[in-house]
């Protein structure tokens, strides 16, 4: 029997070292690039006559569509392997999680497979968005009531 100190040492030795600086640089470049592409798309939509708010909403839809396509083609994971948080944090990461859980559970059927497992990651995100939004709504209601 090894004692817990040795065990911790052994765990440390076998855990792969994460090159933090390189990870962060890649996340910065990819995340920045996706945001910049979003900004270019937004100007493009405004140029074609969309209102400012609408054009940024359209950018979200466009990025979700492209992520769904790239996930389906199997390209997204290859990019995400390098980009890390750079593709996770933009809406692309949300879309990728939803789409890949849908595709991966296709074999379990369209109702209880795709239908329920599509929410594996979307569920928590939507739930906590709704929950925190509702809490904000209640606070905002009483703040405006008494001010």
């Amino acid at each position: 029997m090894e004692n817990s100190k040795d065990y911790k040492k052994r765990i440390k030795r076998h855990t792969p070292k994460s090159p933090i600086f390189k990870d962060c640089l890649l996340a910065f470049v990819f995340g920045g690039a996706i945001s910049a592409i979003g900004e270019i798309l937004a100007s493009l939509y405004i140029y074609f006559g969309a209102e400012e708010q609408t054009s940024y909403t359209l950018v979200t839809v466009t990025l979700i569509f492209v992520s769904a396509l790239l996930t389906g083609l199997g390209v997204f994971d290859n990019i995400a392997r390098y980009a890390g948080a750079g593709t996770l944090v933009p809406v692309t990461g949300f879309a990728n999680s939803v789409v890949s859980s849908a595709i991966d559970t296709k074999a379990e059927g369209l109702i209880l497979g795709v239908g329920s497992k599509i929410f594996t990651v979307a569920g928590p995100v939507i739930l906590y968005a709704i929950l925190s939004g509702s809490i904000l709504g209640v606070i905002y209601y009483f703040v405006t009531l008494f001010s």
């Binding site: 933090i20 920045g32 945001s35 809406v91 849908a102 939004g133």
Partner: protein, 122 residues
């Protein structure tokens, strides 16, 4: 085309991702938790009014990261409360997140119909 805004979009969008990368590397938070954290943080930023100046500065650099999704929910909720009173706190969140949720679900469903699973990821 506003080049300064484009540069700010790149810098701010990139920095928001670096923070998440640090969280992943240093605290071993799982990606799903990062997403939830960012959405809630976005709702908070929207609620205290810090999101709008960030959005005016960086445009897509603020709206494309999931923070923008949360801030959008916050904005929708407050508008709905202005219009419908307390009931707005139940109506607003879904209305405001409708576009993002619907498009992710619909494109996800269509992708599941068209494509076959290529890689195992959880």
């Amino acid at each position: 085309m506003d080049l300064f805004k484009l540069l700010m979009a790149f810098l701010i969008g990139g920095l928001i991702c670096v923070v998440a990368q640090l969280l992943i590397d240093l605290t071993r938070l799982t990606p799903a938790r990062i997403l939830v954290l960012y959405v809630c943080f976005g709702v908070f930023l929207g609620g205290v009014g810090l999101y709008t100046p960030l959005f005016d500065l960086a445009g897509a650099g603020a709206s494309v990261p999931l923070i923008g999704f949360g801030a959008n929910v916050a904005k929708g909720v407050m508008e709905s409360v202005d219009e419908n009173g307390l009931l707005g706190s139940l109506m607003g969140p879904f209305t405001a997140s409708a576009v993002g949720c619907s498009s992710a679900l619909i494109f996800g469903y269509l992708a599941a119909l068209i494509f076959k699973s290529k890689s195992k990821r959880t």
